[in-house]
């Protein structure tokens, strides 16, 4: 089987994730609540653990609904979070959500055989074995959410990119934002694992933010960088025969380093007398 045949489902999954995650990542960065995605991803994993304990298939529909339910609940809490003016307090709540969700998942799974392995696979993912049906379902849901965010682009943008006190309170829109966020993350964690979901959300958006200014430019550059990183990661995974997900995350980790080095060189050449 050709390399591209093996890697095509995984690559398609990456492309779908890049299309949605870079956009959401920019929102998260603007809000300054970086670990919200890690927390939500872990809550999704916790939901799957509960489903696993109840004897349901980890990747089945029931498990996904439990995970979605748990994540939506967390999303409501996170939507309320905006009301807290203290940024540190918000980060504390998000951090606690992550740690507690992870701990509870470990406690639940410690009683089951293979539970720890499931936890590990929810963490690092097995994107090489993803099925086309799963990718198709993901594409469908992502398309609906993308449409929602394209239509109400300004409204969502205003929500994230204005200061709390300037903003007219609209809990409904805030909730809608976190609900779409929760859906995107639940589905992605199921297929790609917590590590990849967090990496795709934050790393490309952050790297692009270092280099360019406008929202559109960051979105485009972030998408391109993530795509290049995914291709390089998948290629490396294939040529060196390594698990794909963690390799992609490691490669993406190089992006902000490269951008930082680029900025440093640029600054050094600008300050030095020509």
């Amino acid at each position: 089987m050709d390399a591209w045949m093996i890697l095509l489902p995984a690559f398609t999954l990456c492309a779908l994730m890049i299309a949605t995650h870079t956009y959401l990542g920019l929102h998260v960065l603007a809000r300054g609540i970086i670990f919200v995605d890690l927390a939500l991803a872990q809550v999704a994993a916790l939901g799957v653990s509960v489903a696993f304990m109840l004897g349901w298939d980890v990747h089945g529909a029931q498990a996904q609904f439990v995970a979605l339910g748990a994540t939506l609940l967390a999303a409501v809490v996170l939507a309320k979070l905006r009301a807290i003016p203290d940024k540190t307090a918000r980060e504390v709540i998000i951090g606690c959500m992550y740690v507690v969700a992870t701990a509870v998942a470990i406690v639940i799974l410690s009683r089951s055989s293979q539970g720890m392995e499931e936890l590990k696979s929810m963490f690092s993912g097995n994107i090489l074995w993803v099925r086309w049906e799963e990718v198709g379902l993901l594409a469908l849901v992502y398309a609906v959410l993308t449409l929602l965010h394209v239509v109400y682009f300004r409204r969502f943008k205003a929500l994230s990119f204005t200061e709390v006190n300037e903003r007219k309170s609209s809990f409904r829109w805030e909730l809608l934002f976190f609900v779409s966020f929760a859906v995107v993350i639940t589905l992605a964690v199921n297929l790609a694992g917590v590590l990849m979901v967090f990496a795709f959300l934050i790393i490309p958006a952050f790297t692009a933010s270092l280099l360019v200014g406008s929202f559109g430019a960051r979105l485009a550059l972030g998408g391109v960088l993530a795509m290049l990183g995914s291709i390089a990661g998948l290629w490396l995974s294939f040529s060196e025969d390594l698990p794909a997900g963690p390799v992609i995350v490691a490669v993406l980790g190089g992006l902000p380093l490269l951008a930082g080095a680029g900025l440093w060189v640029q600054r050094a050449t600008r300050t030095s007398p020509a």
Binding site: M1, A3, I6, P9, S110, Q114, E117
Partner: protein
């Protein structure tokens, strides 16, 4: 074709290059090319050019035949069956029976727990290219094989087709649960305990099933497979007798194991697995359970704890410190250590490990 005439390329021509050069060139060019290909001196090339046309054509056709043979020889060798196995144990058995007629690739290493496997690109490629996929079955690979089979999209090796061989159907499984299996029971397999390769008598049954399937897929080598199987069975008979003698002191003894992996070994060599470190298969023991185990070890006078290398050893050491039970870390698969290359090596190593632990 241009590249064929460069110096250096032709100094050590590959048989295929020879074939292409001689088959596809017009005769006159072949004449010119031939001395180059052969690396002859200018004198012989001069001489060759002055031969008659008939001689040249004869010469060319002889070389064509030789080149053809040379070209197809590697192709014939590649006609070996591509066999992919889930574990190294099955790979070793398949190699013992198939010999040169098969190319065997195991999907997991003998150093790792075969219940789990991390997806790697090579696994998909190997299953895709496989003519035969041999698995332990009995749900041992249930956590990863279905997903892999789906990704590899190779109809030949899908369950139910001749290219799929589930060896658990060739042996009698122990520990078959009587009632319905639930998550509550831990890592219990509905079909029975899947660690059956640890009984050397089952190894013979597995080898037979492999030989039968190889014969079905490659009847041209039927005689070879039959011969290899006979040799394997004969050697197994001698070896099993020797292992039984070596492990005779264990017969009838109560032994504890970490996981449920060693029931077949116990069955084969006449000792009894009286307790397991895991409260339920696949679940690590809690502190309270370890305390219970200490009482049980003393009560039943269990003197030996056997376990696989890939489980945590702290629980076992804790038990050993409190009861004096001896710990023997036994290789559970071919490839568990570098020295274990064949199925017979595995039991030699198990016997050696038990001797080292002072168990026999």
């Amino acid at each position: 074709m241009g590249v064929m005439f460069k110096e250096g390329v032709l100094a050590h021509p590959h048989p295929r290059q020879l074939l292409h050069a001689l088959l596809y060139l017009p005769p006159s060019m072949a004449v010119a090319a031939f001395p180059l290909v052969g690396g002859r001196s200018s004198f012989t090339s001069h001489f060759l050019l002055h031969r008659t046309c008939l001689e040249i054509l004869m010469k060319k056709s002889i070389h064509c035949v030789i080149a053809l043979l040379l070209t197809f020889a590697p192709w014939l060798a590649q006609a070996a069956l591509n066999v992919v196995t889930s574990t190294e144990d099955i790979a070793a058995l398949t190699l013992a029976i198939g010999g040169d007629a098969v190319k065997v690739k195991p999907l997991t290493r003998g150093t790792a727990d075969p219940h789990f496997a991390q997806a790697k690109p090579s696994m998909i490629r190997e299953v895709y290219q496989a003519d035969l996929l041999v698995v332990v079955g009995a749900e041992l690979e249930v956590g990863w094989m279905p997903a892999l089979l789906q990704s590899a999209r190779n109809d030949k090796v899908q369950p139910g087709n001749p290219g799929y061989l589930d060896l658990s159907t060739a042996v009698t499984l122990l520990d078959k649960p009587s009632g319905p299996v639930t998550r509550d029971m831990g890592d219990v397999h509905a079909a029975g305990n899947p660690h059956y390769w640890l009984d050397p008598n089952n190894g013979v049954l597995m080898a037979r099933a492999i030989a039968q399937r190889l014969t079905q897929l490659d009847s041209a080598h039927a005689k070879d497979f039959e011969r290899a199987l006979a040799a394997f069975e004969q050697q197994a008979q001698v070896k099993i007798a020797a292992w039984k003698t070596a492990l005779a002191p264990l017969a009838g003894k109560a032994v504890m194991s970490y996981h449920t992996s060693f029931v077949y070994l116990a069955n084969a060599f006449g000792f009894r697995i009286a307790a397991q470190v895991e409260p339920k298969p696949g679940i690590s023991p809690s502190a309270a359970y370890l305390t219970q185990l200490i009482a049980r070890i003393k009560e039943q006078q269990i003197g030996l704890l056997i376990m696989e290398p890939y489980y945590e050893q702290r629980s076992a050491k804790y038990l050993s410190e409190h009861t004096g039970v001896r710990i023997a870390v036994l290789p559970q698969s071919v490839g568990a250590t570098e020295q274990i290359k064949t199925y017979f090596d595995l039991f030699d190593a198990i016997v050696a490990a038990l001797k080292n632990a002072g168990a026999v």
